[in-house]
Subunit: 325 residues, 2 copies
Amino acid sequence: MAYYVGIDLGGTNIKAGVVDSDGNLLNKLSIKTHAERDEKEIIHDMGKLAVDVIKDLGKEISDIEAIGIGSPGTPDNEEGLLVYSANLPFNNSPMRKLIRDVVDLPVYIDNDANCAAMAEAVAGAAKGTKDSVTITLGTGVGAGVIINGRIYSGFNQAGSEFGHTVLVSGGLQCKCGRRGCFEQYASASALARMTKEAAEKNPDSILKDLIAKEGGSNAKIAFDAMREGDKTAAELIESYTDYLADGLANVINTFMPEVLVVGGGVCNEGDPLLIPMREKTMSRPYFGPGVKKTEIKLAEMGNDAGIVGAAMMGKACMDDGKNGR
Amino acid sequence: MAYYVGIDLGGTNIKAGVVDSDGNLLNKLSIKTHAERDEKEIIHDMGKLAVDVIKDLGKEISDIEAIGIGSPGTPDNEEGLLVYSANLPFNNSPMRKLIRDVVDLPVYIDNDANCAAMAEAVAGAAKGTKDSVTITLGTGVGAGVIINGRIYSGFNQAGSEFGHTVLVSGGLQCKCGRRGCFEQYASASALARMTKEAAEKNPDSILKDLIAKEGGSNAKIAFDAMREGDKTAAELIESYTDYLADGLANVINTFMPEVLVVGGGVCNEGDPLLIPMREKTMSRPYFGPGVKKTEIKLAEMGNDAGIVGAAMMGKACMDDGKNGR
């Protein structure tokens, strides 16, 4: 069995773990990112964390094949750089070189949403498939595409930004600059916004009380209200799942993945979300008679997706003979 | 130099040609499809046409490596079937077997829009790139995706249906069953429809006269009227190119191809289409600072794209060691 380190770089925490060839996470450690610091300090800490997590498992550096890093933003895995990240102080940062100053292993870098998709493909909901897409409904809509067992993100590693495809031409302003992006209608944040709007428009609904009780809107309130029999909430979920299904059906018509994985906290709502999401989504793509259909599954890797996916991305790069030094 | 036969199966004509390894079309022949016939007769004629085009060039069957077929609909290249086609009488048709009854060569099958993209990638506007997407604005919006030099169309070969991704949620009814599909707003047919609608709403515009003169609306009229200084026509082109750019920017955000190839008769309009299409499209995707940008180019392969692409798809399958027998 071969071993890989996966590092999940986030705006708040840096998490690292040792993962075996099958995608089993053997241990993990976490430190604060302190994103206000200089990039060099952050990357130095990532390297030290990799060493710590290897030692924590009782292994040696020489027991490890490679380090995979999942980061927000756009990487350049060929040159070993993090080209750009919206929320972290990276600007053509020589991440590979700076990590290798701390620990002498091959280092590979990819986007965090892509790594989450890799984790689902190797060890999660899309295990055993060659082509899958993972969509995560969170603050935004994250997307990662796996083709033939490898991450696909375009010639510049900036692709598979499905959250920023327009679903409602001329619609709501998105922070990316476009109008009507999928994530403005289908993210957990979008549902929280829609809940607030519906509460204001429908004073008879219990949405307003629930928002007050929770100290603000969130993506759970509409489901809670619907379970209490609130009509406005039921209409809201109907509308939200319509947008969501339109976007997911777009993913299917575009990629025809064997499995479309959907994740994010809102999926914890269970059947009230999942049943309409599945039914509406599957009624929309065009499968001709006799054509095999995509299967929609819930994400299985949870909070460890970033670490496991980063490690398995590193493994894939090693297997493909990519230069990580 | 190795040689391949490409067959471009259409609803009206079946075209075949011999193509060399570099994508040069050496000769071609064409016969009528007579799509009302039994599938077996059509496929038999395709086999005979392959033999004829080889002999027409003065070559022997043994000089040819493989036959590639580009067909409308959804193929199953592993099993050698045409699973389904909307406008042709195919239903799990054993195309490989029936062709090989006529001519004993490896036979590979893919979708026609995918083959057009392959032609652009090997010998046309995207030559020299690994990742490209070709969008064709015609009766519908065709799309073909090339990843790492190979056609990508999903686990069931039914993907890259970008024309049937929703751009205007709840919008115009599409024949695929969905509402608001990209092709309802950006195809040549869509522009012809918009032109007719604009003429009816704006009796002062010259659009009405031009439609009468042409005996019906088409995608050229709005450009002709705009060149004459017609304000309604100028607004129409503004709106059409907005929708078009939204869809093309979706393609870029999704695939980040090195080159996005755009083809179809409407591209012959030149700058009045191309300048706004390019400027609007490139202003919309999110490229972070320092991230390489997609280049938008016009299709170069014209009417031969189907033949050349089918042949080069056949070559790619041979190179990958896929079974064609």
